[in-house]
Amino acid sequence: MNKFQTHQTKHAICTNRLEVADGHLLAAEDQLLLTALKPRLDQLMREPSEDVLCTILAYAELL
């Protein structure tokens, strides 16, 4: 029973994109908090302006 639970936990960790290969180094409660925070952290995602992207691409073309 214990073995099965361990397997389940490891599987859950490995399939979660947030937890890269060494996610197990964190305590289980920390892993859970990170997983819970993931959607909210994703909401904080921002993008640079189109002007900046155009400047970078124009610069690359000049070289």
Binding site: L26, R40, R46, V52, I56
Partner: protein, 197 residues
């Protein structure tokens, strides 16, 4: 023949190879693929969208130079490498600031905060915005070392080994900083002062 649609399915390594060979659209696809994570990683550290854009631009200028000079290490992953460059530029900025402190206006307004959820009912929008601002404020309150680890882990998909290398500490220290960051966030989440502010 390469089309933009074809390029979307290429790996970062394939895009880098083609860009080095002179096919410019590959750079556009690489930037589009990773721009949000890189920009957000910078923005959450410097807390100013104009400054974050300057550092983002400078980061990619360094990326372009390194790729075209053939100095990119094939063994590494592209995103962690770019995040490392961005992180070093942020550190350089803070060092310069420390030497020559100036008073700047940190912009607190972003039009995308307002228009991003315009399709939702006003109440949902306000609740979402509140939650969005709460977490942003909590992250800003973390000590820089803890904030860095959290940002690199989430937005950069970096391993603790990579975070340790970039920040110049041991893996144990990087892990410890992450634990402290999460503990501090936990405390802030139950703090009525922060939650009801």
């Amino acid at each position: 023949m390469n089309t933009h649609k074809n390029l979307q399915t290429r790996t970062d390594q394939e895009l880098i190879h083609e860009f080095i060979s002179g096919y410019q659209p590959c750079l556009e696809v690489l930037i589009a693929r990773h721009k949000s994570k890189i920009y957000t990683s910078i923005y959450l550290l410097v807390k100013d969208s104009y400054l974050a854009e300057d550092i983002f631009q400078e980061t990619f200028i360094k990326v372009i130079h390194t790729l075209q000079a053939g100095k990119y290490n094939e063994e590494g992953k592209f995103l962690p490498w770019v995040i490392r460059i961005a992180h070093n530029l942020v550190i350089d900025y803070f060092r310069k600031q420390k030497r020559n402190p100036v008073i700047t206006n940190v912009d607190g307004f972003d039009i995308f905060d307002v228009i991003q959820f315009y399709d939702e009912p006003l109440e949902n929008m306000m609740i979402r915005e509140q939650s969005h601002q709460d977490l942003k404020r909590m992250i800003q309150l973390l000590p820089t070392e803890q904030k860095e680890v959290l940002i690199m882990r989430h937005y950069g998909d970096l391993s603790f080994k990579e975070i340790a290398d970039i920040t110049g500490v041991s893996i144990n220290t990087a892990l410890g900083r992450m634990r402290y960051a999460l503990n501090n966030l936990r405390k802030m989440m139950v703090s009525p002062v922060l939650v009801n502010k």
